[in-house]
Amino acid sequence: MPKIKYFFQQSWLLIISSFCFGLLIAITNAAWSPRIVQNKIDKLNRLMGGLLPKAHNFQLQTELEIESAKGKKVKSTIYKALSDAGECVGLAFNTSGPGFADRIELVVAVDDNFQNFAGYAVLASNETPGFGDQIKLPYYRNQFIAAPAAKLELVKTGNAEKIDPEIVAITGATVSSEAVLEIINNSITQIKDQMLKKGLISNDK
């Protein structure tokens, strides 16, 4: 009993402060989270629009659950990109996985028959500024445009301008380059398989 009394004598301020500060953060988060979520949706739409410039609007197609390389379940939302005439001009989905510093969230776009990549964009990442955050730059991103929508391979040297399944890593940011490739490789195969099973895309195209 005296030990408990001593414990509270020493730490009552810490306990009360933790409770008050936690409450303050919870209230702030509750007040601003709808706006933060809306900002994320706007950004996703903007990025998808950049990857599929022919798209006029994006229609939610389905939500799938995929397994990351480390066995963690990740939810991926698939959007159908529709042109002015209402034709499907591609598909885009969000995915994520571990990066060098923190989780990397990506939006990946493929053509309408899931044959080639239309590119990827970074939705959120905390990769090292000046090094790992180069995954956002055109040098690395452009290598994915028109590459076959299948497993890609990371190489340290090669021709970055050639459209092939070989992606040349960013110098000084191999871990981040690998992380992006692993996220894309992992999600593209699983999403393609699940969409084929659901009949959302067909094999014959």
């Binding site: 303050l24 953060i25 933060i36 950004k43 500024p129």
Partner: protein
């Protein structure tokens, strides 16, 4: 007795201006080097970082000053960190909600304010030992000093790396941008030169 309010007023004034020059956190105390080097490639993110630090410093100094008589010596750093992290989280949420572009540019450097030495230093050196008003004035002085320093550094780097300030072009089109100024080397170079300049001015004054 009649001189007491005047002395207090002088003390407040000295506390306020200390952060601007005599005890400038960056140029004189060499504190908060991480954001100083990392977010000063342009004026907009530097100003956002400065304002975030002012907010956190202001709020944490108020809380620490109010609870200074209740603080247990061995738990004080824990209390400072808890207080600072609360306000940093609020600042981070605010930027994500109302300034998403800036939040994206600043990235991990906003949450890193939690371990910014300036804030812990002011909590320990000033707020935990002084009454509320002195702590508030100290926070404002130090915060403005830090923000101005970041903006000066960012202004120089932005002009030389893009020919513009606040994204408004000010140098002639013929100007060849110094790309290196946007990179870490530019931050170290500019900071080093400014520190040398401040030292030279201080020595001349002395």
């Amino acid at each position: 007795m009649t001189n007491e309010p005047q002395a207090t007023s002088v003390l407040y004034k000295q506390t306020l201006i200390a952060g601007l020059w005599r005890e400038n956190p960056v140029f004189r105390l060499l504190l908060g080097m991480c954001p100083t080097l990392a977010v000063t490639a342009a004026v907009k993110p530097a100003l956002t970082m400065g304002l975030s630090v002012i907010f956190v410093l202001f709020c944490s100094n108020i809380v620490v000053s109010l609870m200074r008589n209740l603080l247990k010596p061995h738990l004080r750093i824990l209390m400072f960190t808890l207080t600072i992290s609360t306000f940093v989280t609020i600042a981070d949420l605010f930027l994500k909600a109302f300034q998403p572009r800036m939040s994206e540019i600043l990235g991990p450097y906003v949450p890193l304010i939690i371990v910014n030495c300036i804030i812990i230093c002011r909590a320990e050196a000033c707020a935990s030992k002084n009454p509320l008003l002195t702590s508030i004035i100290d926070a404002i002085g130090m915060g403005i000093g830090f923000t101005l320093t970041l903006c000066v550094l960012a202004g120089i780097r932005e002009i030389l790396s893009t020919g513009a300030v606040w994204e408004i072009p000010i140098l002639p089109a013929a100007f060849v941008p110094w790309t290196a100024m946007r990179m870490p080397v530019g931050a170290f170079l500019t900071l080093g030169l400014l520190l040398g300049l401040v030292n030279a001015i201080t020595k001349r004054k002395a």
